[in-house]
Amino acid sequence: MKYMIMLYGSQQDYDVLAGRPGGGPVWSADDVAAMHAFMAEWNDDLVKSGEFVDAQGLTAPVHARRIRLREGVPVVTDGPYAETEEVLAGYTIVECDGFDRATEIAARLARTPHPQGAAQAHEWYVDVRPIAGSPAELEL
């Protein structure tokens, strides 16, 4: 059974992580390195256990494009999100024994280190969703 573990962030979160001056405290190089090391270990554990399928990080929300229909014609908007709107920032797909194991994997991310000063604007969370079409879906 496959599950997608999804992480979220706003443009503001991306900017704080990238050290954009002008706002409040930002992440230092050491903070970023600690976060990367933690994520790499989390990822490597999944590769070693054979549960890893795929993972991708997404660029900042300002790079997003939205395509909408306007009177039947597709119209493209660049950067459609508000600064503080939380959107998908990255995902990891795992193949493992059931929803509980996937939840356990995702919950380990709660220990991701982050700097004390750079308080998160939002409550921390991560989502896990079963991927449709897996064989185990039939047993639900």
Binding site: A18, G19, P21, A29, H36, A40, A60, V62
Partner: protein
């Protein structure tokens, strides 16, 4: 110390295109032959480190791949449930095939394979994947890892590429001489793309394996076509760029601009080899774009410091390169070189001409270069704004952090 496994892998990677060339020459069926050769390589990778090398590794691989091809063709034939003339022919030829001198055709075969894999009927992503597998001897899993793509995606890409080659009906042979120059340009471009892909991420994980492989393949092409200036130029460009790798990023992945790099970390052996190649190529006259870019890289690599760099010469070479192709990144580099040789204002004037260029509209490089030149010109507030704009446009975290840090530096003092 290399392990027996690594030694075997090196040998197999070198033999891969020659085995494939020999098998395709005897039996045809490029697409199925390529699968058969991969299986033979895998079998050897498992067996040789354990049992030792066979007396004639190349012959061993050709034999095993040939048998495997026969099996695959038989299975295909059975699956189709009808007579397959080609399959029977292959089996018959296998029995009759003489013990040919494999090495004589080896060099030509590698070139023919390169031309085939970089066939204009294929999209660039497929040309790259097929070249790395058929000529580079990499497994699909290795290629997928290098390009951060799922293995299933890469398998389909390679399979579809081989089908297209089969369907196009191109024979296994050198392209007609009238096409040779254009086809060679395509081959060099594919190797260039493999190389630049190794730098594309700018972040963890560094894909040094791709640059190493691109250099290995460029070396093979240069060895096969020693008189081709652009083949030499491309190899020189790769070596002269790769020479700076260790100095390009801080341990945390932050990019370090060339002016601030520790030049003691630059690889003197690669620089010497690259400079010798480009000097020899340029002496033949009528240089192409790879030779010009290599000449620019050589001027950077030989300079003791950013200040002591021959900027007027670099600006002149970028002007020549701009005349060869309409590439906005070349124009950006030209503006930087002009700024370094004639002052930031002259560079900023050149940037003005790029403002409306759609190709740069979403790229961080135009505002990043403008920020740098504005900073040199002492316009701190405007430089800060340009750095912030560039940071928003950059995709990778290390680059965004770098550009934001440059902006922050202009914050504190007047």
């Amino acid at each position: 110390m290399t392990t027996p496994g690594e030694q075997t892998e090196d040998l197999l990677r070198r033999l891969a295109p020659r085995v494939l060339g020999a098998v395709v020459r005897r039996y045809g069926h490029f697409d199925t032959a390529e699968d058969a050769v991969q299986e033979a390589l895998l079998a050897a990778a498992g067996r040789w480190p354990r049992d030792g090398l066979p007396d004639n590794p190349l012959g061993w691989l050709v034999t095993v791949a040939g048998r495997r091809l026969t099996d695959l063709l038989r299975a295909e034939q059975a699956r189709r449930g009808r007579e397959d003339v080609a399959g029977r022919r292959a089996i018959a030829e296998w029995r009759l095939a003489p013990a040919a001198d494999l090495s004589a055709a080896g060099a030509d075969d590698t070139l023919i394979l390169l031309f085939l894999c970089c066939h204009p009927a294929l999209p660039p992503a497929s040309q790259i994947a097929l070249t790395l597998r058929a000529v580079g001897g990499l497994t699909t899993a290795q290629i997928a890892r290098a390009f951060l793509a799922p293995e299933a995606t890469m398998t389909r890409r390679i399979t579809r590429a081989k089908q297209r080659i089969r369907d196009s009906g191109v024979p296994f042979g050198m392209p007609a001489s009238a096409d040779r120059a254009a086809r060679l340009r395509a081959v060099l471009h594919v190797l260039y793309l493999v190389f630049t892909e190794g730098y594309a991420g700018e972040t963890w994980p560094l894909r040094e394996d791709l640059t190493t492989e691109a250099i290995r393949l460029a070396r093979i092409v240069h060895r096969l076509l020693p008189d081709d200036g652009e083949a030499a130029g491309l190899l020189a460009l790769m070596l002269l760029t790769e020479a700076r790798r260790a100095a390009r990023t801080a341990p945390d992945g932050t990019p370090i601009p060339m002016a601030e790099q520790d030049r003691a970390l630059w690889d003197a052996a690669r620089i010497a080899e690259g400079v010798a190649l480009v000097d020899a190529a340029l002496s033949r006259g009528a240089p192409g774009p790879y030779q010009i870019q290599a000449a620019i890289a050589a001027l950077h690599d030989e300079a003791p410091s950013a200040e002591a760099t021959d900027w007027p010469q670099i600006a002149a070479l970028y002007a020549v390169l701009s005349g060869m192709s309409d590439n906005p990144v070349t124009a950006l580099n030209h503006a930087v070189a002009v700024a370094m040789s004639r002052g930031p204002r002259a560079g900023l004037d050149l940037l003005g001409g790029l403002e409306g260029d759609e190709r740069l509209a979403r790229d961080h490089r135009l505002p990043a270069v403008r920020a740098h030149l504005l900073e040199l010109a002492g316009e701190r507030a405007a430089a800060r704004e340009a750095y912030l704009a560039a940071a928003r446009r950059a995709a990778s975290l290390p680059r965004r952090r770098y550009l934001n840090a440059r902006a922050a530096r202009l914050d504190d003092d007047p």
